[in-house]
Structures are given as C-alpha cells and as structure tokens.
Symmetry: none
Amino acid sequence: MTELQEARDRREQILQAAVAVFAERGYQRATVKEIAARAGIAPGTIYLYFRNKRELLLALADALIRRAADALLTFRSDLDVKSHLALILHDRLRFVRENQGLLRALATEIWTDRELTAQFFEQIILPVIGTGSIYTQERVARSELRPFRAEVVLPAVVGGILLISVLRLMAPDSPAAALSEEELVEELARLYLHGLCSHPEEEWDAR
Amino acid sequence: MTELQEARDRREQILQAAVAVFAERGYQRATVKEIAARAGIAPGTIYLYFRNKRELLLALADALIRRAADALLTFRSDLDVKSHLALILHDRLRFVRENQGLLRALATEIWTDRELTAQFFEQIILPVIGTGSIYTQERVARSELRPFRAEVVLPAVVGGILLISVLRLMAPDSPAAALSEEELVEELARLYLHGLCSHPEEEWDAR
Amino acid sequence: MTELQEARDRREQILQAAVAVFAERGYQRATVKEIAARAGIAPGTIYLYFRNKRELLLALADALIRRAADALLTFRSDLDVKSHLALILHDRLRFVRENQGLLRALATEIWTDRELTAQFFEQIILPVIGTGSIYTQERVARSELRPFRAEVVLPAVVGGILLISVLRLMAPDSPAAALSEEELVEELARLYLHGLCSHPEEEWDAR
Amino acid sequence: MTELQEARDRREQILQAAVAVFAERGYQRATVKEIAARAGIAPGTIYLYFRNKRELLLALADALIRRAADALLTFRSDLDVKSHLALILHDRLRFVRENQGLLRALATEIWTDRELTAQFFEQIILPVIGTGSIYTQERVARSELRPFRAEVVLPAVVGGILLISVLRLMAPDSPAAALSEEELVEELARLYLHGLCSHPEEEWDAR
DNA sequence: GATGAATGAGTGTTCATTCAT
DNA sequence: CATGAATGAACACTCATTCAT
C-alpha cells in the first residue's frame, strides 16, 4: 500500500513538473530533461512511470478531464435562475483560473494531435454542453427560461468564459482584466439572461 | 514590375505552403523541408524570402492581422439592430471559416511565443473589441441597445463565435455542427439581444 | 573520484580527437561528426562536454597557453650564456615540435577570430617576450650580454624559431630540415650571440 | 586589346575584393556573395573569371609570389654591409606591410591546403632564402661577413621579420609596435651583424 | 558577357530515449 | 528502483555553384 502510494506520489510529482514546463514552454519546446530537473529526479526515471513524453501530455489531459467531470456535478435547483447562473459562471471562471497551467499545456497541442483533439472535445466540451443542456431543460420546463437551442447557447457561453479568461490571464492590461470577478459575472449574467435590447418599460435591474 | 510581381508571387506561394503545413502539423512539427516540398521549391529558396522559420510564422500573423483589420470596417447604421447583429455574426463566422488554416497555424504558438501573444491580443482581439465598442455605443445612444460593459460583452460574443466555429470545424459530429449557419446566427442573435429569460408578456420573436 | 576522472578522460579524449582533426583539416573544414568518429563516440556526446564546436577550439587554446606557461619557468643562471641560450633554443624547438598539432589547429583561426587573436598574443607571445626580457636583463646587468631592446630581439628570436620549425615540419625537403637539431641550435646560438660580421682578430668559436 | 584589358581589369577588381574579404573573414568564412558585392558585381560573374572559390585563393597566392619575386632583385653590392642589411630589412618590412591583406588571406589556408603549402614554401620562402644565400655568399667571399649556414640564418631572419610584423599589425599595444621602423631596423641590424654578446674592447656602434 | 534566383548537399546542434551501473 | 551518460536521428540553416534569361 505504501509502495503504491509512493509510486502514485512520484507519478504526481512528475506530472506537476510537466504541467509547469509545458505551460511555460509549450509541449514541443519542453524538454524531458527540464521536467526531470523541475521534479528533482533523473530524466531516465520519468520513463519508469510514463512510456514517453507524449504519455505525459495524455496523462495531463486525463487529469483535466477528471477535474472537469468533478466540476460538472453542481446542480442546484433550489436557487433562482440568476443566482444559479452566477454560481455556475463563478465556478467556470474559477475552474479556468485554477487549471490555467493545464489548459495552456494542452492548448499548444490540441490543434494538431488528433487523439488529443478528440479527447478534449468529446470528453470535456461536449459533456459540459450535454450536462448543461439537461440542467437548463429543467428550468425551461419550469418556464424559468425560454426554450432555446442548447447546442448553440451552451458553447456560446463557454466560449465567452474562455476568451474572457484568456484575456484576463494573458493580457492583464486589457480592460476585461480590470473588473472584479463579481462585476464580470454580474454583467455576463445580465447578457445571457436578458440580452442587449433596451427594455424601457421594465427596470430589469430592479427586479 | 514583373520581377517585383514574381517575387511577391513566390513569397505568397511559400506562405500558402507554410499555412497548410503549420495548420496540419503545428509550427514546431512542421519542417522547412516539407513546406518547401509543398511549395514545389528547394528548402534553400525559402531563405531567400524569409530570414528563418519563425519569420514565416510572423508573416502569417501579419497577414491575419491585415485581414482582420479589413474585416472590421463594416459599419452599417442603416440596418435595424437585429439585422446588423446577424450580419456581423455571419461575417465573423465566415472570417473564422476562411482563415481556418491561418488560425490553426497560429493557435499552436500563440500560447508560448511572447511576441506572437502580444501581436495577437493587441492587434486582433483588442481592436475587434474596441471597434465593436464604438459601434455599439452608437446604438446605445440611439436607445436601440441598453447600456452595457463593452469590455465584457464583446469578448463574450467573440469567444462564443470562436468556440462554436472551432466545434463545427474540429468536431463535425457535434450537434453544433448540424445546424445551418442561418439557424446558428438566428439563435445567437436571439441570445445576445434578448437573453434566455422567459418573457411571457412580450412575444419577442414576433418582434 | 572515479567519475570525475572518467569525465576528465572523456573530455581529454575528445580534445585529442579535435586536435587531430583541426590540425589536418583546419578548424572550419573539420566536422563535429569526424571529431566524434575519431574519438570513437557519437556526435551528440561532444555536446555533453563542450557547449559548441568553438568551445573545443578555445579549450585547445587554453591547453596551449597552460603548456606554454609551464615551459617558461626555465631560469638557469648557473649556466654560461651560450649553454643557456642553447638550452632555451632546444627547449623552444621541442615545444613547437611537441605541440605541432595544437599550433596548426590554432593557426587556421588565429587570424580571423578576435578572441583567439587576443588570447594568443596576450597570453602566449607577450609573456614569452616578457619573461625572456626579465631573464636577459639579468645577464645584461652582469655584463654577460650587451644592452639591447628586448621588445625587438625577443620576437626576432621567437619568430626565427617558429619559421625554422615550420619549415622543418612542413617542407621536409628544404635544406633547413636536413640539419640535426644540434647543428641547428649551434648555428642559431652563434647568430644571436655574435652576429654575422667577420671578426678576424678574435676566434670566437675557439673561446 | 581593349576587350582583353577590360577582362584583365574585371579579374583584378574581383581579386581585390577577394583579398579584402579573405583578409577580414578568412578564406572559409568569406562568401562568394560578399566578394561579389564588394566588387560591385553579381555572384555569377565571378565564375566567368574563376573556376571556383578556391581558384580565387590560388590566384591570390600567385599574385603574392609574383610580387615577392619582384622584390627579390635588389642586389646592391655598392653599399657597405650594414647599410645594405638595413635596406633589405626595410624592404621586407615594407613588403609585409603592403601585402598584409594578401598574407592574412593566405595565412588561414596555408596550413591545411597541400597545394597552397607547397606553393608558399617552394615559391616564396625557399627562393627568398636561396636568393639571400647567393647574395650573402658574395659578401662572405669578400670577407665582409663570416661564413655561416644560410639555410639556418636566412629563415631565422625572415621569421624574425614576420613575427615582428605580425605583432606590430595585430597587437598594436605591444611594445614591439611602439618603435619607429627606423629604430626597429637599427636594432635588428645590430642583432644580426654583431649578436648580443658584450664586446667591451670594441665600441661596435662607433665603427 | 552579365545576372541573380534557385538549388540541395552538408553542417552544427538538440533532445527523446535507452541501458549499463 | 533510480540514475545520467551516451546515443543518433532529425532539423534549421548556409552557401558554392549553376543556368535560364
């Protein structure tokens, strides 16, 4: 048991180093030597736990998938729509923030590595949309939301969160980075719930 | 004149080959040899037109920036809000579709190449947001749109378009890829103009 | 200790191969591949011990400098002038002979590599002259030698030794190569001590 | 005739550019392109006058040989020994100074190019020694000089001149570079005619 | 003759991976 | 288990030389 635990720890230690180096240099520029150095071990040791460099990346993708899956299970039908949406937005923003390194590490290879592309979309993006659909349909059924095409709206919301997060992380001078997360979520919730049209007759904000 | 034209053509020919190979393999995996082969020339010839492999990438980034700038100038204050938004959405979706290769080529390096990161955000994303802001504020002034934080909403819209485009291009089996562009734009316009809340009293769709 | 020794040996082994190849082909024509082959190792291994090809050359220059410095310390004020000069000439001839490869290796690059030029003159030629000066001035003080400009005479002597050595090594058919080293030193000592003028009155050789 | 003259001029123009570039960069680092640029012509043109890059070097060696031969013919039996030696030393120092570029250009390749080595020694160094011998033997016959081994003394003198020249040209801070040529020749003549031994009884300088 | 764009063989260097210790 | 020295295939880039114009 302790041995297995130790092996797990060693694996974890290597993966953490890999995240750091991949995030900094990108997958291709990252060298096994540097990952080993950052993990405080010899390069050869990595090959006792992973078949090759690419397996490191796939393991990281796996880790991201597992975390994303964990984060999906936050159904809260007890809250009103707006509070719930805000909760979800906060949650997703936090997810991106906390898995920044992992996301950057994968971002360099997702576009050209077929297996990774498939994994990323099938096991992260589509489940997010799918789960989101199920939940939102419930609200629709209760007439708290109007009927809509989840396959369009969900990616639109996720994409928005992603780009805003990227902007805030990679261009800290951009105006999008100046807002507090509170204000950001407020504005997004308003957008996604009420849109941009002017509604003179109803002070929506006062609701 | 013909000489200059020939040189320009040769440059263009190389860049096109580079886009193709970068998009397929990613910047790092792409070899100068393959780019040359795809362009039907010898590897050495590339170095008569570009200082090194990286200059190819930067030239492509430049090309993208120039195209993005061209695409920005579509002010149409004569249209009603919804038609105009639909026009813009169509336009952006087309831009991503048409510059797919270029975007994929850059996507692998944007995250780790500082100069590229800066260029991409400062010369593409921020101007898109900036120009969008100017236009939308005009509509706000005319009370056609409610006041909103452009620095949040614009990235949210752009991010939505990007992720939906990516999904449609890279995961053609996903439900988001099943819709016609017409339906897609319709749904997005609805989302961004009116949000998801149910408004029993006003038949928004009836306009 | 053994490890350090092994590393030192490996370095030495590479340097020896480098001397051989540089001497044969000159620095520029020498390929890392050939140096590796001559050392019986893979090309990549060289880069575990030297940053690049040029570092090989600089390491060789260092080696020569160290050897030259060691060879400088032969003060022998117990000998009479002629014997001492003969000793020094023998010593310098031997130095050139023994470091032939090293000298040829450097000879190709000294003329165009600023750092190497500086090193060679400042750390070899000038110290040789400087040390020679100190020693000879002592003899002058004892009236065993007449006063003279060391900055002219020392380079003249060193240059003479160099060219004669080069002739003997590179043009073995030349008359200068036909003499025994004994005869050579004898003739040089006579030249540098008594000059070429005829001195009928004094049988200098009979001394 | 004019055509032939033009061709000769063009050849000369190329060779001058080659001397400059070879002297600056060394033969190997020099590029045909840069030589062409310095000559104000296109790279291809060089190949109308020379078979390849190496022929440029050989042509330069030829030029040096021709100049050295011209410089050899200065017999002056009308002068006294000291004046004549001084004249020769001045002449040789000037030769090195004036052909500095040419000598540097060749210096990088002489050591590894067999044909060049042979040419240099057989057609320059050995003739210099040979011609010198003939002349000096005449002085010996007239008892103005003592008998000596020309094959040792001549290279010794030439080598001395070469190293001093090199020092003066490449290490302008060295003490050897501080003297006027007049003083330099004076000191060398003294060395080669009278040696370094002290001769208290005869004020040689007063002679 | 003159050009200079094109060539492509050849180089230094990197780095994932192996394996003897 | 762990090491890290050694490997060698692969790559970006250079440049002497050619040849169509």
